[in-house]
Symmetry: C2
Subunit: 228 residues, 2 copies
DNA sequence: TGTACATCAGTGAACGCGCGTTCACTGATGTAC
DNA sequence: TGTACATCAGTGAACGCGCGTTCACTGATGTAC
């Protein structure tokens, strides 16, 4: 608050995150701040684990800049949050792509997709909360979020399912099954995030059970005459 | 804000909910306010659909009383919210008990449980959010919430599953299966609540598919020699 | 090489808001004598 | 039946907080002449 750049950080202020010591950007390098703001939003999210902690003022504090500076790069708070979300979507998508890469068997690919999904969600619970558990009206720019959702791992999953159906490895309408599968993995992920202290069975064992049993339910009836 | 009791409600104040015209309780009838406060919290939750709208001040406004009056009956905001939650738990439990009452076949009871669960969640999305989708540290009195959870429909589900396993209608560890089943119904419910505008398949069809396929996955292997 | 000037990258102070909570109080109502 | 008094059911004003956003500004830096 004092103009003296050498003054130390005020001690109080509870939730304070290491404040940056910032030098004014040189001319033409103003865009650097934009990156720093997004990175700060990310840090706040992870370190406090609280979406409400990501306020304009807190982000500014973290970057080491005054609140009005944020408005040089984002029109308002919603836009800032949305931009921050986009970063996560890309990571989420990349993680799933990575986990399914090179798997030819579509059923195995579906399972790998599920495992990667749960893994990523539990590793980044706050991000997961924002992406999948927020209220519709807290999701900035409704349609954009939908687009992101449908563009990413969802599509990859849908393709694997369609392929598995074509090969008669599973039966049913892919348009139904994709929402079914999503429900299953989302259910486990989000319950573990919201109620971590319940007497859960071993996480690995439960995940395995969930995925295997689900695929079993989707498999063709082995006792039916046209099988085998 | 004016002391004149005949003054009309101020027009502005955006989210205002019909304010009560309250008469001071007679001596010995002070407990009535407690009920009214809980009811007001309920109304705010439902009518605004926003948990943050349930502030001490908003509740007081709705009841038609000043904020300090709340403290005559609840020690702080957390306690108020928790008490309000308890009301919902009872309803949730009653709904499930009602839906499964008189069903002898345990597998059918499990499915009925699932249907009732999804039904109740979607009919009371804000309550569902609080009960099952809040952050652990926003759940007032951690252990109490856990207790409520385990006391209610969860136990009913567990019993049905154990019974089905004993009768060889489904296979596996009931302690695993109960979390599996919960994940499945919670997944669908919470996704529909968080992302209502996605291109969802017909809700009835999807629910049916989800429940039937899940039970199918849990059923004994029909091609195995010790069956039939 | 020197200087006026435009532009860029921010700052500092303030706005009005709603929040949870505390404090000293008030006024109606029932009760003891 | 009358009156002093304790108690109950609240009120009114204030505390300090953090928030999003706006506004007029400043000072360093590059550029045109």
């Amino acid at each position: 608050m004092s103009g003296d750049p050498l003054e130390h950080q005020k001690p109080g202020s509870s939730n304070e995150i290491t404040p940056a010591r910032r030098h004014r950007a040189r001319r033409g390098e103003g865009e650097q701040l934009r990156e720093d703001i997004l990175e700060a939003a990310e840090r706040l999210l992870i370190e406090t684990g609280d979406k409400n902690a990501v306020s304009i003022r807190a982000v500014a504090r973290t970057v080491g800049v005054t609140p009005p500076s944020i408005y040089l790069h984002f029109t308002d708070k919603n836009e800032l949050l949305f931009q921050a979300c986009q970063v996560h979507w890309k990571r989420f998508d990349a993680h799933i792509r990575n986990a399914t890469k090179g798997i030819d068997d579509p059923v195995e690919r579906i399972a790998a997709c599920g495992r990667a999904y749960i893994e990523f969600g539990l590793a980044n619970p706050e991000h997961y909360r924002i992406l999948f558990m927020s209220k519709p009206d807290e999701q900035p720019s409704h349609t954009d979020v939908q687009q992101l959702l449908l563009d990413s791992g969802f599509t990859r999953l849908f393709q694997a399912i369609s392929e598995a159906v074509e090969r008669d490895q599973i039966v049913g309408d892919p348009g139904l099954i994709v929402f079914h599968c999503w429900s299953v993995v989302h259910g486990l992920t989000s319950l573990l995030i919201s109620h971590p202290d319940l007497p859960w069975p071993d996480r690995e064992v439960l995940t395995k059970h969930l995925l295997e049993t689900s695929m079993r339910g989707l498999a063709p009836d082995r006792s039916s005459p046209d099988h085998q």
